[in-house]
Every structure is written in structure tokens, then in C-alpha cells.
């Protein structure tokens, strides 16, 4: 991009600035589209899981629903409640947006497709997403509303508590790859499932589960969506928001879902790694990455419509009594395991294959259960007992 602009006859510095602006706009548009489409995906999947259809009117199968929603929200009046802290109220949604959008700098779209492969990439990732909690807390504080305030406070408590298990969970892959850069962590994994970070040892499995649960909580997803618990707090920190600012909150929430899926994929699920023969096809690598991300997103949405919401004390219990000790044990265990097997790569690969086989076994068990449940749900309600048995 920069080279093209210089070849037209621009000076190097303006060319750099213009190319940066163009890249920013492109990434922002991609980001908005992803966030928007995810709202539709989520509503559609939730509909299917509740034996409904979900939005299917705007465009084929309702794919343009998010455009209609966005236009509606933008055309709405921008209300600021009486007694609100106007400056904080106005700026809060953009903190959320920046917190999520900032992660795009180190977002590993595929092998070598990354805006800036910082050597502290993972650290940057965790730090910049912490801006979201500022936004949420500001929104809750400035709304002059009890529900908003409680929502904001809960968000702060929740994110502070879950940062620790998430950070500890990420320490295990860092231990294995020996680097904090996204590219380095991806390079430490292969394209085969047993080369992925998850299946390297029993301890990585534990750390993956802990990281996954923790990042669910950090993204304010159900079952950890206490900051906006509808049944208790109306809509939590965004109770008083309308129009464009509300849209920004929601955009950042769903984009956060994508970002979270991306981080999980890059760190634990092999990112966009391809077999050696296909290594030159960057597009293929991006597609592999996106496919893995969509699986993670599906699982997150699926969890949302399966599990009920936690109570606040259960939430804290979960973080401090279960996830944190688990993360410590996983970290220590992995360190000891690596120390013991550092000269025995064959043992490491055998353990990895065994972990993968355990996963396959669990998956098969799961498919059997799903089949049983499908059979049970096919039976009409109110049918006589003889039909059920």
C-alpha cells in the first residue's frame, strides 16, 4: 500500500500516514461486519436451539438483519439521562470499542498475516482488552442509575477476578513455546490436532479449559453475563443507552466474541497452520483460521443457550476456589512434566496422541448422547407412555 502511494509520487511520510488510515478503515469495516453478522448468527442459532426460526425476514435467511438493526439504532434519538455525567456517558462506549478494536494489531489472521507481530503480543492482547472494563465501569457510573451502577461494579469485580485464571491459563502455552509473540506461539504448533497446544499434555488440557471459562467471563458471555443480567438489572450498564452508543456497545460485545475465538484458536488450537505442502497459500491459512474461530464461536453461543446464569457468589467461588488453584496446578505440573521429558520427545508425542484420542472418545460419547436426545425429542409431547418406551 505504502509502495503504491510512493510510486504515484507522494512523499514517504504522507504516504505512510495515508496508507495507515486506509488500513485502519478497512480493518474497522471488516470488524464492524464481523460484529454485525455475529449478532445475526447468534440470534439464528439461539432460535434453532429453542425450536424457533430466529430472524429470517431481511434478505435470504435473514442475513441482512444486522444492517436493518444498525440502521434502526443509528436513526434513533441519542438520549442522555437527566443527572448523568455527560462527558463520561458519551465517551464510555468508545472505550469498549477501542479495547476490542485494539486487539486487531496483534490478531493472527493466518500464518504471517498479522498487522504487527509484537514480541509481547499476548501481553499486549490481555492489557488492551482490559480497556473494556473501563468502558463498562464508566457507563455504569455515569448513567445515574442503580442498575447501571451495579452492573458496572459487577463487571469490574468479575473481570478483575477472571484476569488471573486467564493469565495463568495462558502461561502454560507460553511455557511450551517460550515466547509471548503470536507468531511464535503459532509456529510452536503444527497443523495436526496432536501438535496443537491443547493436546500437548494433560496440563495443557486443564489450562485450556480454565482459559476458555475465564475468557467467557471476561467477554461477559452467559453463563457469566452478570453485568447485564436482564432478569435482575434490566440491562445492566447499558440500561440508559440508546441509539448509536448502544449499537457501539453491542458491536464491541460481539466483536469481542470473535476476538476471543481468535485468541483461543491462535494460542491453543494451532491457529492457521497448514501442512508443509500447502504452506504458501496464505488465503487457505486464513480460511483454516476462520473455520476454527467459527467453531469456537459456535461453542460459546451454544454454551450461552445451555447453561443458566451464575449467582454473583457462585461466580466468585468459581474463579477463586476452582479456576485459580487449577491454573496453578496446571502451570506447575506442566513445568515438571517438561523438565522430566525434555530429553524424551517420543514420550511427549505419545502423550499428545493419547490426549487427542481421549478427546475423540469424549466426542463420540457426546455424539451418542446427541442421537439419544434427538430420538427422545422427536416423540411428540403428551404422547402415551407406551410410545415413549
Amino acid at each position: 500500500m505504502e509502495a503504491i502511494l510512493i510510486s504515484i509520487g507522494l512523499e514517504p511520510i504522507p504516504a505512510k500516514i495515508i496508507s495507515m488510515v486506509i488500513i485502519c478503515v478497512v480493518v474497522l469495516l471488516a470488524f464492524v461486519t464481523i460484529g454485525g453478522v455475529l449478532t445475526w448468527v447468534e440470534r439464528r442459532i439461539s432460535g434453532f436451539m429453542q425450536a424457533r426460526l430466529g430472524p429470517n425476514r431481511v434478505g435470504p435467511q435473514g442475513v441482512l438483519q444486522w444492517v436493518a438493526d444498525g440502521v434502526k439504532l443509528i436513526l434513533k434519538e441519542d438520549l442522555i439521562p437527566d443527572g448523568a455525567d455527560r462527558k463520561l456517558f458519551a465517551i464510555a462506549p468508545y472505550f469498549c470499542l477501542i479495547g476490542v478494536f485494539g486487539t486487531m494489531v496483534v490478531f493472527p489472521w493466518g500464518k504471517g498475516v498479522i498487522v504487527a507481530d509484537l514480541n509481547v503480543g499476548l501481553f499486549y492482547f490481555i492489557s488492551i482488552t482490559a480497556l473494556v472494563v473501563f468502558g463498562v465501569l464508566m457507563a455504569g457510573w455515569s448513567s445515574n442509575n442503580k442498575w447501571s451502577l451495579i452492573g458496572g461494579m459487577r463487571a469490574a469485580a468479575q473481570i478483575v477476578s477472571y484476569e488471573i485464571p486467564v493469565g495463568m491459563g495462558l502461561l502454560v502455552p507460553i511455557l511450551i513455546s517460550g515466547t509471548l509473540s503470536m507468531g511464535g506461539i503459532m509456529a510452536a504448533q503444527g497443523w495436526l490436532p496432536w501438535d496443537w497446544m491443547v493436546f500437548k499434555s494433560p496440563f495443557t488440557v486443564v489450562s485450556f479449559i480454565i482459559f476458555f471459562i475465564g475468557s467467557l467471563a471476561e467477554a461477559n458471555r452467559t453463563p457469566f453475563d452478570l453485568p447485564e443480567a436482564e432478569s435482575e438489572l434490566v440491562s445492566g450498564y447499558c440500561t440508559e443507552y440508546t441509539g448509536f452508543r448502544y449499537a457501539v456497545f453491542f458491536l464491541s460485545e460481539w466483536a469481542n466474541l470473535f476476538v476471543m475465538g481468535g485468541l483461543t484458536t491462535a494460542v491453543f488450537l494451532g491457529g492457521g497452520n497448514l501442512p508443509g505442502v500447502l504452506e504458501d497459500y496464505t488465503i487457505l491459512s486464513i480460511l483454516v483460521f476462520l473455520a476454527k474461530v467459527s467453531v469456537i464461536i459456535f461453542v460459546v453461543i451454544w454454551l450461552r443457550w445451555t447453561l443458566p446464569r451464575f449467582r454473583i457468589d457462585q461466580l466468585m467461588d468459581m474463579s477463586w476456589k476452582y479456576l485459580l488453584p487449577g491454573a496453578f496446578i496446571a502451570f506447575l505440573g506442566q513445568a515438571i512434566y517438561m523438565l522430566l521429558t525434555q530429553h524424551l520427545p517420543i514420550v511427549q508425542s505419545v502423550v499428545a496422541v493419547i490426549m487427542f484420542l481421549v478427546f475423540v472418545f469424549v466426542l463420540i460419547r457426546f455424539i451418542i448422547r446427541v442421537r439419544v436426545n434427538i430420538r427422545e425429542q422427536r416423540i411428540p409431547v403428551n404422547s402415551p407412555a407406551s410410545d415413549v418406551l
Binding site: F48, R52, L303, L307, V370, V372
Partner: protein, 207 residues
């Protein structure tokens, strides 16, 4: 300590089972009926599967008004009964006829129990369904039950004009007006003739 690990085990077990149930639901039938496109009262598959009642509205419900013009005597009582003036009737003269129902029995006036006579016919019978408040006063006042409420309530239209129900078509109106003109012309001719005869008679008497 045992309870601690039991909790973890239970958490994973219940999440596993719960996720299998919600995943299974994705592939089982959708219960949504796409209402305006699917007619729930005539769709057979719904009628077979549905366990509640599909009877629809009760018989005495007051839905959109309907007029049976073969029973209407153009008396305009309904127009006067309507508290919000949503009924508009224009009428012209017609042949004096006794009203009959489909079978051929004479129709009686509900209030006087005499045979209903039709001396005028409507050229315009408009009901503004958007204004109508479904009070039922017109149907109560009608002597021949020509105007009555149906059970119908689905009336989405694209404009308010489409909500003005017109019961007399343009051709019928033209025909009725032509007929009325004929009757009047005939009556005028009769009158003229009668007057002439009178004059002739008077002349004869004078002579």
C-alpha cells in the same frame, strides 16, 4: 475435600448433558408457524399436530362488518345508529319488492314481524373499517340482519383507503341508477299522461 471434586465432576457432567440436549434440539422440528403465510385454520399438518384448540374466534365475537345486500332495504337505520359515522349509504328508488331469503321464504322485519318491503336500493354502502369500533349497534338496529359482524379479524392492508369496505360495485351502482331513472321517467310519464287525461276530462266537462 470430596465435595470439592464432586462439584467439579458434577459441573462437567451437567454441562456435557445439557449441551447434548441443546445441540439435539437444533435438529428437531421447528415449532414456529409463519403465521400470515400459513393459514392456521386450514393447514392440515398443523391441525393434525396441534394439541390445543384451533376453533378460532367464538361465534359471537364482533369482527369485521359484512353486509348481505340481498337483505338490505336501504333503510339507513344502521347509518343513524353508528356513533362514529363510519357507515355511508346512498340510495335510489327501485321496484317495490318483497324480500326473500335463499329458500324463498319471505323475510320478516325483526321488530314488527311484518314482511319486509324493499322500495329503495343502495348505490353506495361504504364501511370504514379503520374507524369502526366494533360496538355492534348497527347490527343490533338492522331490521333484516343484513349488516352483521363476522368472525374475521385479519385485515392488514397497505393503505388506509383499502380499509374502506365498499359493498356496492360501480356496475351495480350504474345499473341501480339507470333503473331508478327509468322508474322516475316512467312515473313522470304516467303523471304527465294522467295530467293530460285529467285535462282532456276537464276539457270534456267544460264542453
Amino acid at each position: 475435600m470430596g465435595a470439592y471434586f464432586q462439584n467439579i465432576k458434577n459441573g462437567f457432567k451437567s454441562a456435557f448433558e445439557g449441551m447434548s440436549i441443546s445441540f439435539a434440539t437444533m435438529f428437531v422440528r421447528k415449532e414456529t408457524v409463519q403465521y400470515p403465510e400459513v393459514n392456521i385454520s386450514t393447514n392440515k399438518t398443523i391441525a393434525e399436530k396441534y394439541k390445543g384448540t384451533l376453533m378460532g374466534m367464538p361465534a359471537n365475537s364482533r369482527g369485521i362488518l359484512d353486509v348481505n345486500l340481498s337483505l338490505c332495504t336501504a333503510c339507513q337505520i344502521c347509518q343513524k345508529a353508528c356513533p362514529i359515522d363510519c357507515i355511508v349509504i346512498d340510495n335510489v328508488k327501485c321496484d317495490k319488492t318483497k324480500l326473500e331469503d335463499e329458500v324463498g321464504n319471505p323475510v320478516l322485519n325483526r321488530f314488527t314481524q311484518k314482511e319486509a318491503l324493499k322500495t329503495r336500493t343502495v348505490t353506495r354502502f361504504d364501511i370504514n373499517a379503520a374507524k369502526c369500533m366494533y360496538c355492534g349497534l348497527c347490527a343490533m338496529a338492522c331490521p333484516t340482519t343484513a349488516i352483521r359482524h363476522t368472525n374475521r379479524f385479519e385485515m392488514n392492508t397497505e393503505s388506509q383507503e383499502a380499509l374502506i369496505l365498499k359493498f356496492v360495485s360501480e356496475e351495480e351502482k350504474a345499473r341501480a341508477e339507470k333503473k331508478a331513472n327509468d322508474i322516475e321517467a316512467e312515473a313522470a310519464a304516467k303523471k304527465a299522461k294522467a295530467a293530460k287525461e285529467e285535462k282532456v276530462k276537464e276539457k270534456g266537462a267544460e264542453e
